[in-house]
């Protein structure tokens, strides 16, 4: 039934932003710029000509049905997809105007942190989880590590709950606490961008609310990009929202505009629940 529409989407060159290399020069407030970005899993093309400017110290949300490429795009921004075999990326992606693909990969990942769908604390203590990123980046001085751990746990709104049990295993925490621990762990290395891949999909509404509140708090110190299946979450949280469909960025605009007055029919169908 949706086939004609899909055909149209596939054949149309959809890039709401000019995609010439010259326009990739950094705009004053943008942190990450993608131009003409294609991504392939083997012979399957998962991303088609993505072009986007992600603003500094804002929350950008990506929405779209499962398999639309939003997580793939997220994982391209810290080059996480390179860990998978048989993948290929084409096009231009810049962090502060610098070519992301020619930078050192561990450097990229330190500057662009990531929080995953399922909380994945290491089987170590709470303290060691948060300190891990510092230690692998060569920071071992106790006073610095102690400070960073406390600061990160405070940013992640977890300090009050764990300050007396830092040497307890992370696995003893609840699901929501574990996810906040993962956020603290990512924040400890002071990333310039924090990518979150459906961070609340396994959490109850109260734990979700806590995470949304803390994301609001930390956008002063980092640029946030979040993939979510929950449209209310995008509406509540994000300054800008991008709608992905079948590997294309259909529309990217102010969150208000996307949800109240989208320019494209596909976006409207999706946000009003008529599609996907």
């Amino acid at each position: 039934m949706a086939t004609p529409q899909r055909q149209q989407i596939l054949s149309e060159p959809v890039t709401p932003i000019p995609d010439t290399a010259e326009s990739a020069k950094m705009t004053a407030s943008s942190k990450l710029n993608a131009r003409n970005l294609n991504f392939y899993y083997g012979s399957f093309q998962a991303l088609h000509g993505i072009g986007i400017d992600i603003s500094s110290n804002k929350i950008t949300a990506f929405i779209g049905p499962s398999g639309c490429g939003k997580s793939t795009f997220l994982r391209t921004m810290n080059r996480m997809n390179e860990a998978l075999r048989n993948t290929r990326v084409e096009g231009d992606l810049r962090l502060d105007g610098e070519d992301l693909f020619s930078m050192d990969v561990t450097d990229v990942r330190r500057r662009v942190g990531m929080v995953f769908q399922k909380s994945n604390p290491f089987p170590k203590t709470i303290f060691d989880n948060v300190a891990y990123g510092l230690r692998v980046n060569g920071i071992h001085k106790k006073s610095i590590v102690d400070d960073a751990v406390e600061r990160s746990l405070q940013h992640a709104a977890l300090w009050a709950e764990v300050k007396d049990k830092l040497q307890k295993p992370a696995s003893a925490l609840s699901g929501g606490q574990q996810q906040r621990l993962c956020i603290a762990r990512a924040l400890a290395v002071e990333p310039e961008v924090l990518l979150l891949d459906e961070p609340c999909s396994a959490l109850d509404p109260i734990a979700t609310l806590k995470i949304e509140e803390l994301l609001f708090q930390i956008k002063d110190i980092t640029t946030i990009v979040i993939v979510t299946h929950n449209m209310q979450q995008a509406a509540r949280l994000a300054d800008y929202t991008g709608f992905f469909l079948m590997g294309k960025l259909i529309e990217f605009d102010d969150t208000k505009k996307i949800f109240q007055n989208p320019a494209r029919k596909e976006t409207e169908d999706y946000v009003t629940g008529r599609f996907g």
Binding site: M80, F116, N120, P123, Y132
Partner: protein
């Protein structure tokens, strides 16, 4: 629609159930028969002298196998020093680095090595160590058992590392850890209890090997000093005493068999306990 269960199906079901039940009982029965038989013959000839005294010259009664107990320990130590690092690092490569095609070939090779008869491994160690050095030694026995440990070490390492979810690796990589750092600071610590128990089961398995030691470690009626002389081991001692004509030596062989089995059981149970405890959360 209700299906009537025919009498024939009932009978087939009953026969299959009893057959599998009987076979299960046989399996358990064999184990307990061996245990009981060894306990009956072995424990009765076990005494303090067995653990503290050297074997007596033929014709005299009494004596013990202190040298063989220590000897088995020394040979196993050499075997572990050779087999574990090689097998472990190859297993890390197999689980974390190698491509699908190469991994398939490597796994196949390792399984073939695992299937090589232990006597053949003994001949290889004889040719590699005994011939050039011109005498039997603890080292040669350790090399033979070490080679035997490699395949199991590779496969257990691979399996326990693969069991660690990929999300662990991604979490570490996303924090700017290199791949090697990720493996050694997150993946291996997360798998450590499995890896340790795999090591212990591997040791338990080669502890009872006799054939590869016959013409590498050879055997010794006295204390063997250092690592380069013939050395007594429990399995070879059992072999030699069991085929000797004296009844007293048969009793000593039973006792040695009992000690060896007890040792293997203790290692096994310890390994299971390590697995059951799981990864310690407080470990760095």
């Amino acid at each position: 629609m209700m299906m009537e269960i025919s009498p024939k199906r009932r009978v087939v079901n009953a026969v299959m159930l009893s057959l599998s039940g009987i076979c299960t009982a046989l399996v358990i029965g064999v184990l307990f028969f061996i245990l009981g038989y060894l306990l009956w013959h072995g424990a009765s000839s076990l005494n303090l002298a067995f653990f503290t005294k050297l074997p007596k010259p033929s014709g005299e009664t009494g004596g013990g196998m202190a040298n063989a107990i220590v000897g088995s320990g020394k040979v196993l130590l050499i075997a572990a020093l050779i087999g574990v690092p090689i097998g472990f690092l190859a297993g890390v490569y197999l689980a974390e680095y190698s491509g699908r095609m190469f991994a398939f070939c490597l796994r196949y090779t390792v399984d073939l090595l695992n299937g090589v008869p232990s006597i053949v491994i003994g001949i290889v160690a004889y040719a590699l160590v005994v011939r050039p050095m011109k005498h039997f030694s603890a080292l040669a026995g350790g090399v033979a058992l070490g080679i035997m440990m490699i395949p199991i070490a590779v496969r257990t390492t691979e399996e326990f590392l693969r069991a660690i979810p990929n999300s662990m690796r991604e979490a570490a990589l996303a924090l700017g850890a290199t791949k090697a750092k990720t493996i050694f600071s997150v993946v291996i610590p997360a798998a450590i209890s499995g890896l340790l128990s795999g090591l212990m089961l591997n040791l338990a398995r080669v502890a009872g090997e006799t054939a590869p030691l016959l013409f590498t470690a050879l055997g010794n009626m006295f204390w063997s000093h250092g690592w380069l002389r013939p050395i007594a081991t429990l399995p070879v001692m059992i072999y030699n005493y069991a085929i000797a004509p004296e009844e007293d030596l048969h009793q000593q062989a039973w006792a040695a068999g009992f000690v060896l089995l007890a040792l293997v059981l203790v290692i096994n149970v310890t390994a299971r306990m390590i697995i059951a405890r799981g990864p310690a959360g407080s470990r760095r």
